[in-house]
Amino acid sequence: MNIKKEDLIEFIKDKVDFDDLDEKTLLFSEGNLDSVSQLDLIAFIEDKTGVQVEQLDVTLENFDSIERILIFITKKKV
């Protein structure tokens, strides 16, 4: 029920043509991912980690980079 940085990189690269994606790349605030990929990403995270993502959780602070997503998941599990 765990997710690694590599899993997220792979998942995102699978959906969108991304040359230089790392854990700090801004995903949404620079238009790299759109609203459709947003929904897919959330479904993937819920699937892989068992974490329930609420509407309130979906903010740039929690989702705008892989680094932030990993922090968010850790916090949610606590």
């Binding site: 699978d14 959906k15 759109d34 509407q55 979906v58 903010t59 740039l60 989702f63």
Partner: protein, 526 residues
Amino acid sequence: MFTIVFHDLLEKNLNERKDQVAIIDRYKSYTYDEIYLKVEKLASWMYKRGVRKGDRVGIYLYKSIEEIVAMFAASRIGAVFVNINYQWTVKQFDYVVSDCQIKFAVIDERRCKEILETNIPEYLQTILVKGKAPKEDRFFSWESLPPLLLPEKFACIDLDLAAILYTSGSTGRPKGVMLSSLNIIQGARSVAKYLNNNSTDRVISVLPFSFDYGLSQLTTMFLVGGSVLLQPIQMPSEIIRSIKEYNVTGFASVPPTWISIVRYLQETKANLPSLRYITNSGGKIPKNILKAMQNVFPEVAIYLMYGLTESFRSTYLPPEMFEKKMGSIGRSIPNAETFIINNNGDGICGPGEEGELVHRGVLVSKGYWGKEDATNEKIKVCPALKKIIGDEKVVYSGDIIKIDEDGYYWFVSRIDSLIKCTGFRISPQEVEEIVLMLENILEAVAFGEEDEAFGQIVHVVLSTIDDTDLDKEKILKHCKKNMPHYMIPKVIHQFNGKMPKTASGKIDVPMVVSMFKGKRQIEINY
């Protein structure tokens, strides 16, 4: 000052409110005067680079002040702006560039790298990069634009082409819908009228400007001297936060966004005191969400609307009728006339009947760029209306609409196979053509499956040469490179053997679709 051409939408505000905030982009605000000066500078340089009246200027940017400046700069010298959805891939950008022969393009650093790897056509003489430009011929950096002066005004009339907005049809690749200044400005007038827009309004712009619905957020506000807050991030939390922070009065969006916004508001119970109205177009909102909207948006006027790019907007439901006629698309907007034509095409439907909606009036666009046949198929004389309007051409919507006893319209279905995902039109044929580029794919049929969140999602049925197994990863990778995200098939089905054919030898698409629609992913031996 009178508003005649697109650029007038900006200029008309210089007398009364030049120091009023017009655009807010990422915490930075720009007054009408500041925008005007930026436009003059860019327009002068465009002119120096050889852009003349009627030339096409491509704008391939993430929602930003620069996107807006580029639109007005093109209009300032009588050129035609062509916004390309930032979600579109570089391959699609290339397609638009060659389809309408773009002479001058504005892009950002991120797309720049990929564009450099393509074969840039000779007629694309200038590529202006928002950010750092590579040391290549034809590439320039926006930051290093020299101060220049423009020659006096250019004589343009309202019928001159102002913009080309690309949209998918039910067949083939996207087509460029040609809009004159008259189309755009009259459209803004009709909308501002029924929304009761005035200079105290501030709309939040979430929808792309490449979408006519998105563009009208800008045009209506500039028409009445209001302001626009740019919000490119489609996260409910971010949207609600900015509505509150900037005292937004109006919010336009499409069904998938309304669904997530409503769910968000149900959870957070946020208060939005500044919000006066919200609008929906681009599809149907599910009934349970419509009902919930009344609760999460108390005292907000809700407008359900309907239209197609080829005629901008056709109908709206007045907010006071929202509860009584929940889900209806209403009746004709000001300055547009709609008729529902019966099956035979020779009569007008009355209450209780259903047929195809046709649109008449000044909002009828000039047709598709470079596609005379397709234009004549879409915009043509209606035999049923000859007695009333003679040979005046109307737009055939391709939608079946029902009229109720009170004369209100209700959307029934599409006549053709166009798929609509998150408000974007997707041509099944385009999906098929792109997938068929792959070597081992023999036949392809794409169709839409209903989905509450997305409207419809794309399914594709494929058969392979030699009946080998589908390499789904490879297919998706190929799609990713050639399609915007919303077009990428969500479900891939394999068809074993060859697909059934009609008498004329074409794939029996309805038969294939009926085998896979509404079912789980299964393999069929035929």
